[in-house]
């Protein structure tokens, strides 16, 4: 469990997961999703100063892992191959693919380091022209005026188009739980009883839906919403219980979001990671409408 996320080099969620999974290669047959999820969540909790621009990615992967683990905890289902079942396998495969990609580039980077290290054994000759030839080189400033310098400076200072993250071709989701929490706290009181499906209509990415789900669970835990479901895979009904819009975020029971701190930090609260994941293990799948005591911490989007 001694995984230390060393700052300032932040290695990212895939690194962490990869580390956890491949570390136990020796006895892969004993390897279980449970221990990996536990360790992942524990490592997450240890990151006291989690850069919150990064936290969302960690939480999203934690969500997938918890879902995988929840599957395993449930008694085996006879009606396998349901849509939901397929979805989780799909999610799993996606995660697996990204882990493989991450591992590939990790190994490629070792090769690059090796090349660099080898190359550093040699130094290039950079002595340049001997003095006797120096006079031959034409004066490079001939024909350059002060105005040319000004033009060059303006060229340098010209506002470059701000590099924008194009979401068109990436899987990276730039929506946070905190942001969604806020949005839902304003939207739900106005909207009246609704359903999860309706709330998430129009979301492009699966991960965005997960973020919405995590935010709803958080609201549920704080007693701000009521969630109900008539049966497995049935519509998840959402009803606002809180007072006025926006009040939900001040609930003391929830994870502490220190909105005043300039660099927002995740502050783990309540039971330790081990107990938390046990609580999770005992609970039915999250889609049954029970709030899991999942990894705490809420991301503040500083976009």
């Amino acid at each position: 469990m001694g995984y230390q996320v060393s700052t300032p080099v932040f290695e990212g969620p895939f690194d962490l997961l990869l580390h956890l999974v491949t570390r136990e290669q020796v006895d892969i047959w004993d390897l279980s999703i449970s221990s990996i999820v536990d360790q992942y969540v524990a490592a997450l909790a240890q990151m006291e100063q989690l850069d919150l621009a990064v936290a969302t990615e960690f939480l999203l992967i934690a969500a997938v892992l918890l879902e995988l683990k929840a599957r395993r905890m449930l008694p085996s289902r006879q009606e396998a191959e349901t849509e939901e079942e397929l979805a989780i396998w799909e999610e799993r495969d996606l995660l697996l693919a990204r882990l493989v990609e991450c591992k590939t580039f990790k190994d490629a980077s070792s090769a690059i380091l090796a090349l660099m290290t080898d190359a550093e054994l040699s130094l290039p000759r950079q002595a340049g022209l001997e003095e006797r030839f120096a006079g031959l080189a034409p004066d490079p400033l001939v024909g350059v005026s002060a105005d040319d310098l000004k033009v060059a400076m303006l060229r340098v200072l010209a506002p470059k188009p701000m590099p924008k993250v194009s979401l068109a071709h990436v899987a990276t989701v730039r929506v946070s739980v905190a942001e969604t929490l806020d949005r839902l706290s304003r939207r739900l009181p106005l909207e009246g009883p609704t359903t999860f499906r309706r709330l998430t209509t129009g979301l492009q990415e699966r991960l965005e839906v997960i973020v919405y789900f995590l935010a709803l669970l958080e609201l549920f835990k704080r007693g701000a919403v009521d969630l109900s479901q008539t049966g497995k895979l049935a519509e998840l009904h959402v009803r606002w219980l809180g007072a006025d819009a926006g009040d939900a975020t001040s609930d003391e029971a929830g994870p502490v979001i220190d909105l005043e701190a300039s660099d927002l930090t995740v502050v783990p609260q309540g039971p330790g990671p081990r107990e938390r994941s046990n609580a999770m293990a005992g609970a039915p799948g999250p889609r049954q409408g029970t709030a899991p005591d999942g990894p705490e911490g809420v991301d503040e989007y500083d976009g």
Binding site: W89, S122, P124, A127, V170
Partner: protein, 187 residues
């Protein structure tokens, strides 16, 4: 004549500060590029056979003199700066992604790594290892990054295609199995 050409190449390489492309030498010596290449090959093997303390290397598309790697211990004491500070693991991984996926956008790099790549990309640009090489044609016109000649020099490579194939690094069956096993949803 060949001897004279080889001497000229040696002389010019002695006074240049960056790798010289064979076509520049060809123009200067008024011989075909192929001749330059084979003359440089000859020189390189003469130094090798003569067990010289320097080598004639083909780097970043050109030729240059450099110290023999075996002599690293001696030159280290002489050159304190110049040895670049080690790149962090994050920077190396990002560099690998740019090297193999170029041209690549910041968002694509972030997507592969699972974390924002802004700071690391900035560092690599500042070091001159990567540079903006264009803009995405899609919405947002994201900046696209690629590797530089300086990186080739730092890697001691002639061209980017000389990097080992990315396929060589795809995890083997044992690792795949471990990954799969670790993420199996049902027991």
């Amino acid at each position: 004549m060949t001897a004279e050409l080889k001497r000229a190449i040696e002389a010019v390489l002695m006074v240049t500060e960056s790798p010289i492309e064979p076509n520049v030498l060809a123009q200067l010596l008024e011989v075909p590029v192929g001749t330059v290449v084979s003359l440089c090959d000859e020189l390189a093997s003469e130094y090798r056979e003569g067990q010289r303390g320097f080598v004639l290397a083909r780097v970043a598309g050109g030729y240059r003199f450099q110290s023999h790697p075996d002599m690293a211990a001696y030159i280290e004491r002489f050159v304190l700066e110049g040895q670049s500070a080690r790149l962090s693991a994050a920077a190396l991984e990002t560099l690998a992604i740019v090297a193999y996926k170029q041209p690549v956008s910041r968002a694509q790099v972030a997507s592969i790594r699972g974390v924002s790549a802004d700071g690391v990309l900035k560092t690599l640009v500042q070091k001159g290892y990567i540079a903006e090489v264009g803009r995405d044609s899609g919405p947002g016109q994201a900046v696209l990054y690629g590797t530089t000649t300086l990186l080739l020099e730092k890697l001691g490579l002639d061209k980017m295609e000389d990097l080992p194939a990315l396929g060589d690094f795809v995890p083997g069956p044992e690792v795949m199995e471990a990954l799969e096993q670790g993420l199996r949803p049902s027991a």
